[in-house]
Symmetry: C6
Subunit: 76 residues, 6 copies
């Protein structure tokens, strides 16, 4: 993973921050399972499983806490 | 997802903040599974499952932490 | 849900804050499953299941973090 | 639950704070299931189950975050 | 549990803080199940179970948040 | 574990911080199961299991919160 995929936690808008939280959540998976073939095979299993979707949404929520704090909640 | 659904984390009241936390939790699911037909099919399965309801409530709680902090807990 | 059930996060005592955390946790469930009949049917299943009780206690703990911070931990 | 069981989050030592975190975790369970007979019946099931013990330890960890912050981490 | 096992959250290094987080996580388990014979019996079951290992690592991560904050992230 | 593997939480970039979060998550596992043979045997089981991958990603997210705060979110 030599390429730069996370140059900054700062985003212009809350929505861009939420999308970055999704990127972080997916990267967390990919560092453990880097084979795109395996990931592709797993995808239908969890994208149609309510428990897995809720668990994914929880990881996004945790990463969004970090990004929102980094951006001082886009208050200004 | 070109439309703007999260212009700000600021809400007028704690209750509006809690409702925004619910929106964020649902969006976290929809970024993973965007097909409304699949989501509709899954809904009865988790809306009548105690574990899934508690897990959903947990994601809401995490997102509410973020929104409450953003609003300085509506202290003023 | 037009009625106001969360006018403030401020409580007089830590114990009242903990009870508000329980209210928030239950509301998180009710926004997903609003039918009181279904909720009533599910209750015995999770109130007598150790895993579900621990999971519920976890949601309360997360909401209590938010409320305790809002009240500056009732330090004064 | 008219009696006062949580007058303050402040404790003299980190260890007393950790023990208060355990009290909070148990209270979170008891607000959902208040029947001592049911709780007694469930206890062996989760006290001898590794997953339930780890989950309990997680709730304690979350409550300890709150109490440690309330006590400014007993730094002074 | 009359003995003092947590006199302070302050450690000299991040690594010592991480090890203290592990101690806290184990103590959280022992307050629920204090019988060393039962704990010994459970150990192989979870130490060779991927889900339990990940869950344990999560409790450590939560406790490490607390200890790292207490130490101001060992910044100085 | 006499060697020093965590001298600091400070990293040059957010991405290096994310990678350190992965290291912390793995260390949390290794303190519970230190036998590399067992870990090797478990790896395929969870690296091809969607739930375990999401759970791993959650631990990384929690550790990244700590590291991001330590680095003041790499704001400067």
């Amino acid at each position: 993973m030599a390429d730069i995929w996370l140059p900054s936690l700062i985003t212009d808008t809350p929505q861009a921050g939420f999308e970055l939280a999704i990127t972080l959540s997916r990267k967390g998976v990919r560092y453990t399972q880097s084979d795109p073939e395996v990931l592709k095979k797993l995808r239908p299993a969890y994208a149609e499983d309510a428990d897995a979707l809720i668990a994914s949404s929880q990881v996004v929520a945790i990463n969004f806490q970090t990004i929102a704090a980094a951006n001082d909640y886009w208050r200004k």
